[in-house]
């Protein structure tokens, strides 16, 4: 049976639609109940993003604000469309996880024209007036390099970096070099491999690591790897070459990485409690939507971008997680002990957090 549109039916539908739009109009723009926060996610490939989202949404719900979102699925074009869409749907503030920050010009212009404050979440958007909310990514790189250098003070190092389009890749790498440059300069550390990995893909990192191992005759003393997903691929390649235990770094604090640290197959991960970041995004976006000036937001400091612009920013401190302090992530409820300590024999040799049998 087909529903066929007739003039009377169409009119009735139109009337119903207009009523639906008109009814819940609320005049008070000052109350949070009517604030709409639009979030444009770059992708959900790494597990941390779901955690960011959960925290952000929870904080928004607490103050009664509404949450709109879109997933750009790692496409710059889609992200542009997503942002336009969020503006159209009435966002009072935008939180953007930029897939490719250099392509967001048109979207930022729209937001500016509509007087919608924009927050760059986790990834810097180098444009005037965009609030930068992230963990100090350069610090992330420094933490990774410090931990690696502590475990392997000299030798042949490989750099496995992230996606070339992601500005964080360069910040992290800059941090790594901040710590390693002196050692490289005086020859204590020789760089035997240095590659970007498109899309931060673990499988690609695995293949790249295998090639670096071949190039260096299987002699690699440490791998400065920029995130946990790729560290998984690197660890698999090292394991297959009989080099399990060579220091490897990571970022994100994902469960598989925490387990590798407990088992001695990864040295450090940088924990950015994305729950903190998600919550901060909710608070900052609500504050900006209410009209608070960016420089008056608690904890905000001015930040100078690579092109010399000064933008308001809130940078949270990341934390190094190694064998010694695995307990921190467990106590904070970030990862269950069972996952972190899987496969670890309880006893004096085990990391502190896994020492007692469950």
């Amino acid at each position: 049976m087909c529903w066929s549109p007739s003039p009377t039916r169409a009119r009735a539908l139109l009337a119903a639609l207009l009523a639906a739009i008109a009814l819940p109009s609320s005049p008070a723009a000052a109350r949070d109940e009517s604030i709409v926060v639009g979030v444009s996610w770059s992708h959900f490939q790494e597990e941390r993003w779901k955690i960011d989202e959960a925290s952000l949404v929870a904080a928004l719900k607490e103050s009664g604000a509404r949450y709109l979102s879109a997933d750009a699925q790692s496409s710059a074009e889609k992200q542009l469309a997503d942002i336009e869409n969020l503006v159209t749907r009435g966002a009072d503030a935008l939180v953007l996880v930029a897939h490719d920050p250099d392509t967001l010009g048109p979207a930022l212009a729209s937001a500016r024209a509509a007087r919608i404050p924009v927050i760059a979440y986790d990834r810097l958007i180098d444009a005037p007036g965009v609030f930068y909310l992230s963990f100090d990514n350069r610090r992330v790189g420094r933490i990774q390099a410090e931990a690696i250098l502590a475990a392997a003070p000299r030798g042949r190092f490989a750099f496995i970096k992230g996606s070339p389009q992601d500005p964080n890749t360069e910040f992290v790498h800059a941090g790594q070099l901040d710590v390693l440059r002196p050692a490289i300069a005086d020859g204590r550390v020789q760089v035997v491999g240095d590659q970007y990995v498109d899309g931060w893909l673990p499988e690609v990192a695995q293949r790249v690591m295998e090639q670096i191992l071949t190039r260096s005759g299987g002699r690699v003393d440490a791998v400065v790897c920029s995130n946990d997903g790729m560290a998984g691929g690197v660890a698999a390649a090292l394991g297959a070459a009989g080099l399990s235990g060579v220091p490897v770094s990571g970022q994100d604090g994902d469960r598989a990485a925490l387990n590798r640290i407990a088992l001695g197959r990864q040295t450090v991960t940088v924990w950015k409690d994305s729950r903190q970041l998600g919550r901060a995004a909710a608070e900052v976006s609500l504050a900006l939507a209410r009209g608070t000036r960016p420089d008056q937001i608690a904890g905000a400091t001015p930040y100078t971008t690579p092109t010399g612009k000064r933008v308001p920013a809130l940078l949270l401190e990341p934390l190094a997680i190694t064998r010694a302090n695995l307990g921190r992530v467990i106590e904070a409820g970030w990862a269950p002990r069972a996952s972190v300590c899987r496969g670890v024999e309880p006893g004096p040799e085990a990391p502190a957090a896994c020492r007692d049998p469950q």
Binding site: F44, Q45, Q195, P202, R207, Q211, T214, G229
Partner: protein, 328 residues
């Protein structure tokens, strides 16, 4: 060995010979540029393992393309099936009581085959163009791969399972298990394509769908089975990938379908249908992986690698088109 009854121009045999020459030429060039490192036993072994997942899927793609269809979903099916296999056996996975890995593996293969058959049904019975049906599959199953564990990486996997991915304990008589799986798959699909009724019917349908129909061939049934096989082999590739990585990650196999189709086409399978070679496709996969492998060895950046692979692929297919034209 009986002479081939399939006589596309140039013949499959000529094509395989051409691919072997091309492979030798590439290896020689890379060996020279890398000071011999490319041909070191370690690198060649790595190369064979790195190429195995794509090569396995290329075997299935040959039959699909020969039947005048295309399967764009293989990368996503690999990702989804791999995640399911990991989720069923990992302690942190889907099940409170994880399954023994052989059960998870078989379940994954069955799932992959069913997905392939599902695509085949859309194409054969609902008469959807295969480009559309499998593009839908590409999207659906990539999303599904993520949904399996909400994006979380699933690790660790059973030690014996991980052996299947190669590594020092994953060899038989010094040959890595993924390579053995590839060889067995390639032989099996080759026999299927050239020495069975099913294979003969695939070639007939690709060469002349109307003739096949009028000759009484069950065109729809054969088409469905070709897609089911393609799905099954994506499942095999999923096993190889998850075992090698020692984990299920939701981005596995992303964009693999492009490499798989390129391998088949490089190896002599014509996108017009009716002509294809399994051996050629395996060599094609090996050729492309050699290019990628060699370039990382030479420290070429990833962007430049992509440009080079794209240009080389274009040149190879253009040369192939010219060869076909002059042969007829």
């Amino acid at each position: 060995m009986p002479r081939s009854a399939v006589v596309g121009a140039p013949s499959p045999r000529t094509r395989v010979r051409a691919m072997l020459v091309a492979l030798a030429a590439l290896w020689l060039a890379l060996a020279l540029l890398s000071g011999g490192l490319f041909l070191s036993p370690r690198n060649l072994v790595n190369l064979a393992v790195q190429a195995s997942a794509v090569a396995v899927m290329a075997c299935g793609m040959v039959l699909v393309i020969t039947a005048r269809q295309i399967d764009l979903s293989v990368g996503s099916v690999l990702g989804f099936t791999g995640m399911v296999i990991a989720a069923l056996q990992a302690e942190d996975g889907l099940l409170a009581a994880p399954l023994p890995w052989p059960v998870a593996l078989l379940a994954g293969l069955a799932l992959a085959t069913a997905i392939g058959a599902w695509h085949g049904a859309w194409v054969a019975y609902a008469r959807l163009p295969s480009f559309v049906a499998t593009l839908a599959g590409l999207l659906i199953f990539r999303g599904a791969a993520w949904l399996v564990s909400d994006g979380r990486t699933l690790a660790p996997l059973a030690e014996d399972y991980v052996r299947i991915g190669g590594g020092p304990s994953g060899t038989i008589a010094g040959v890595p298990l993924p390579v053995l799986v590839l060889v067995a798959t390639a032989l099996g699909v080759h026999v299927l394509a050239t020495r069975t009724r099913f294979g003969r019917h695939v070639f007939a349908i690709g060469g002349s769908p109307r003739a096949a129909e009028l000759a009484g061939i069950d065109v729809r049934g054969v088409t469905l089975r070709a897609f089911a096989l393609s799905g099954a082999l994506a499942g095999v590739a999923a096993v190889l990938t998850t075992a090698r990585l020692g984990a299920g990650t939701n981005s596995m196999g992303m964009q693999a379908e492009l490499a798989v189709i390129a391998a088949a086409v490089l190896g002599g399978t014509s996108l017009a249908g009716g002509s294809g070679s399994v051996a050629g496709a395996v060599l094609g996969a090996l050729w492309m992986q050699s290019l990628e492998n060699g370039m990382v060895l030479l420290d070429v950046t990833s962007a430049l690698r992509q440009v080079i692979i794209g240009l080389v692929l274009l040149a190879a297919v253009a040369a192939d088109a010219r060869a076909r034209k002059s042969a007829t």
